[in-house]
Amino acid sequence: MFGRILITCWAFIFGSVLILSLFPRLALLIPHPEYIRVFLVPFFLVSIVYGVNRLYKAGMKRARENNLKE
């Protein structure tokens, strides 16, 4: 579920970048643009940590399965 939220947020971010590059004047409608950076840095870090954690869990699950087979 959390992974889906992250993917949706990234899709929203990239979608916004695309729309703003086509219609730059829309950026004036963003209420507090200075907060975007405050949001983006932790969001990027959370995404990385989530991805690494997911990789670790998937890899270790396979290790345990292999060990049980042995």
Partner: protein, 131 residues
């Protein structure tokens, strides 16, 4: 196997380009070894030990070609080794934990180490067993 739309784009798309069966083939192992050599040859460029301004055209040319091929080899090796660790690696849990840290902290150089120390021995063992 049908994938969701978001599994075909971005980092997940690259990740899913590798097939588990293909990772253990001879062709894959040869390509990974070649990538390892290219990545190691790229180290002087990454570390900034080279000054292209002082080089002649013919000395600069191979470095330029390496600069084009290098990043492709780097991502091919890096993602490939992560994929192998997650999906195929049959080591014990502690060995896998160790290699996880090596891959995480060592970036592409960690992938080179993993390729020579874990991936290749396992793939060669598998091929010998099949033969």
């Amino acid at each position: 196997m049908s994938r969701k739309w978001y599994e075909r784009i971005g980092p997940l798309g690259l990740w899913n380009l590798y097939k588990d069966d293909w990772l253990v083939t001879r062709q894959a192992s040869r390509l990974f070894v070649l990538s390892t050599v290219i990545v190691l040859a790229m180290t002087p460029i990454f570390e900034g030990w080279l000054d292209p301004k002082k080089m002649t055209f013919w000395t600069r040319l191979p470095w330029g070609i390496l600069g084009i091929i290098g990043p492709i080899a780097l991502f091919f090796l890096w993602i490939g080794m992560w994929r192998y660790w997650v999906r195929v690696d049959s080591s014990s849990a502690w060995a896998k934990r160790f290699w996880f840290l090596v891959l995480l902290i060592g970036f592409w150089w960690g992938s080179c180490l993993y390729c020579f120390s874990a991936y290749l021995p396992q793939v060669l063992r598998r091929h010998r067993a099949e033969a």
